[in-house]
């Protein structure tokens, strides 16, 4: 029995539905994001001036990386003339058919092709239709992409990028809405990114091109229309960031859960009683930024970790095991993991299985031992 208290995932309120997710604001250190959809992109140097959507941030990072290095190309189904996900739109006109390639339904081969290309110094960006499909490319990702550097003692490197969008609230049911982080979490030499904001999405994708190992890029489509600012180039894009400073409790999450945590923090700050939440957005979930996690956990002494997957894998248990290493007096309370119940995601009422803004708020209050507040609806 783990020593950490188990917080079961409560049913979320009805309003925490897919439609509402488009209102989620970005997790960003650069200030409060402006809700401007479709605003013109910020200058190419990445310095902040305009708000962009999450999807545009990914598209921009991809385009700029391809402009910067001719030895980069995109593989996927319907990524060319018809850009099914929209992220690759226009790339075929800019870079030609050699570098933007529509593939047959052969995901395992697509990833394997990227591995072989990496052996000859090229970086492939593989677009999977959605993250669940990573299952059929598992061998190519694990035995191929991840192991090459290790097996050849660094003679060969594999800076391959697999974009595996999480199809949250797309009504694709149990085979089309999964978070696949934990499937890959124990694979060494595989970076995994789960951007929560436009800034994270842009800089984590740019950074992936510089890595000697492959990156599994788990963008979340339910964040696609959210807007925010791409900040200046961080010293190290893979470090976790404090998306909101707060003194009472530290909430650690990645991707959509980090975006939700930030929104929950805003409600909790309004009280009563007002609770000041420290939100850590991981961005890179593998390798974990242990230094930031430990520092921010101790800064408040109370930790809530939120993840969309069940509690038997993923960054939640990994962070709990990190915190277990702290001296017994380092934290005021045992860390709590808010996770999904051990179930698949249904076609209908998908949101019921997932941690919600209300559930995060409730878990924070329980951590602090304050009375259960009324369900707080966003304006």
């Amino acid at each position: 029995m783990p020593k950490n208290a188990i917080a079961s995932a409560p049913r979320c309120a009805k309003h925490d539905s897919g439609k509402r997710q488009t209102k989620i604001q970005s997790v960003s250190e650069t200030g409060s994001p402006r809700a401007m959809r479709g605003k013109k992109a910020a200058p190419a140097d990445g310095s902040a001036s305009g708000a962009v959507t999450y999807k545009d941030a990914i598209a921009r990072a991809l385009r700029e990386a391809m402009e910067a290095d001719a030895k980069t190309f995109v593989l996927g189904q319907d990524v060319g003339r018809f850009s099914i996900g929209g992220v690759t739109k226009g790339l075929i006109d800019a870079f030609g058919e050699d570098r933007v390639r529509d593939c047959p339904i052969s995901e395992s081969a697509m990833v394997g092709i990227g591995v072989g290309a990496a052996m000859n110094g090229h970086t492939a960006v593989i677009e999977l239709a959605y993250a669940d499909i990573a299952a059929v490319a598992f061998s190519s990702i694990v035995h191929g992409a991840a192991k090459i550097r290790f097996a050849t003692n660094g003679q060969l490197r594999c800076p391959l990028i697999v974009r595996a969008p999480i199809n949250r609230f797309s009504r694709h049911g149990p085979m089309g809405t999964e978070v696949t982080l934990s499937w890959f979490y124990n694979v060494p030499d595989l970076d995994i990114a789960m951007p929560a904001s436009q800034d994270e999405a842009y800089w984590l994708l740019r950074n992936a091109f510089t890595r000697p190992v492959p990156t599994l890029f788990l963008e979340d489509r339910s964040l696609n229309a959210t807007t925010g600012v791409i900040g200046p180039k961080p010293k190290d894009a893979t470090r976790a960031r404090v998306a909101r400073r707060g003194a009472d409790v530290t909430v650690i999450a990645a991707g959509r859960m980090a975006a939700l945590a930030l929104e929950a923090a805003q409600h909790l700050a309004a009280g009563p009683p007002a609770i000041d939440v420290n939100v850590v957005s991981l961005g890179t979930v593998k390798p974990l930024d242990a230094a930031t996690i430990l520092a921010e956990a101790q800064a408040t002494g109370r930790v809530l970790i939120v993840q969309e997957e069940p509690r038997f894998g993923g960054y939640g248990p990994a962070i709990q095991s990190l915190l277990d290493e702290l001296p017994a007096t380092a934290l005021k309370r045992q860390p709590v993991l808010l996770a999904r119940a051990d179930t698949f995601l249904p076609y209908n009422r998908e949101e019921d299985a997932l941690p919600s803004i209300d559930a995060i708020g409730e878990a924070v209050r329980r951590l602090l031992g304050v009375p259960r507040g009324k369900s707080r609806r966003a304006p």
């Binding site: 390639r101 092709i113 072989g116 090229h122 191929g144 050849t152 003692n153």
Partner: protein, 317 residues
């Protein structure tokens, strides 16, 4: 028209074919002894009887990439890897190129264009296709050779790859070590056709059956396949051969009822075939052939000692 098969290859020395095959067989036998004596821990996958396939390596250029199977020692030697390099990988020497991280039959020598092999049978073919794709994008004038056993035809990834290679017309050569067995199981229990052509041609490959025990045919066929692949016609060589030994040093001979086959294929031994040719047409008498054998025996033994000394002194240091 698929060009010559048995002619003496222009620009190549037949005695080199003989030496390459001898070296391969002596190396494989040496490794089996080392394993039996406990001098090394790793298992090997001998290519006994399939040594003529090494001539394919001699038909490639340094810029061509080779993705070997785990039973492709002859071709890897043909591409330029040395005995000592192999022994160091077999030992798992921390100073070797793989530093003891990967089994020796997967070892890569990228500077020679020798890429890693994999345990994922058929699952490695896309990797070779990816390398070929970059050669096509770079208009490099080079090809990628992907070597597989005929047992790989059960693997889905291989079929995904062949389809893509055909559609994209990659500079890709599929070389099939068609020895008719998947560990213990004969081909007719694993697929309907012995020949590979019916499986591959519909994907858009030009194909050629090859006498895999005739080094000249292998050499000419690879030269042909290389030219075809560079001209936008991915090529497949169906190299008919036979495994004259066990599957690996893990266990004894897994096949049963093969005595007649062994006797038949012993008459087609690729090294004997080349010795006979050298005697008849190549100006080598028996004494000269014996001298070549002795040279290769010494080379294998010297390479092992050198590799072992290097590993021992690294361990002491």
């Amino acid at each position: 028209m698929t060009g010559p098969r048995n002619d003496r290859p222009a620009g190549a020395e037949p005695a080199d074919f003989y030496r390459l095959m001898l070296r391969t067989r002596l190396f494989e036998e040496y490794c089996m002894r080392l394993r039996k004596d406990g001098a090394v821990l790793g298992n090997t996958y001998p290519c006994l009887g399939q040594e003529a396939l090494g001539a394919a390596g001699l038909a490639l250029t340094p810029g061509d990439a080779l993705f070997p199977s785990y039973r492709s020692r002859a071709i890897v030697f043909g591409k330029g890897a040395t005995l000592e390099q192999h022994f160091r990988e077999l030992i798992g020497d921390p100073g070797a190129e793989q530093a003891g991280r990967e089994v020796f039959h997967h070892a890569a020598f990228p500077r020679l264009g020798v890429m890693p092999s994999s345990s994922m049978i058929g699952g490695w073919a896309p990797t070779a296709a990816g390398y070929a794709l970059t050669q096509q994008i770079e208009r490099a004038g080079n090809v990628t050779v992907c070597v597989i056993g005929d047992g790989s035809f059960g693997a889905g990834d291989l079929h995904e790859t062949l389809n893509i290679v055909g559609v994209w017309k990659l500079p890709f050569v599929l070389m099939v070590e068609n020895n008719g067995y998947q560990v213990s199981a004969s081909w007719n229990r694993m697929r309907v056709q012995r020949a590979i052509e019916p499986y591959v041609a519909p994907y858009g490959f030009v194909t050629r059956p090859v006498d895999g025990n005739n080094a000249f045919d292998v050499f000419h066929s690879m030269a042909w396949a290389r030219a075809e692949a560079l001209a936008g016609r991915p090529a497949m060589l169906d190299c008919h051969t036979y495994r004259m030994g066990g599957y690996s040093s893990h266990f004894g001979e897994p096949r049963t009822g093969i005595n007649a086959e062994l006797a038949e294929w012993r008459l087609r031994d690729p090294i004997d075939f080349m010795a006979e040719w050298l005697e008849r047409h190549g100006g080598h008498d028996r004494k000269a052939l014996a001298a070549l054998r002795q040279q290769e025996e010494r080379a294998v033994d010297a390479a092992w000692r050198k590799a072992k000394d290097a590993a021992d002194s690294a361990r002491k240091a």
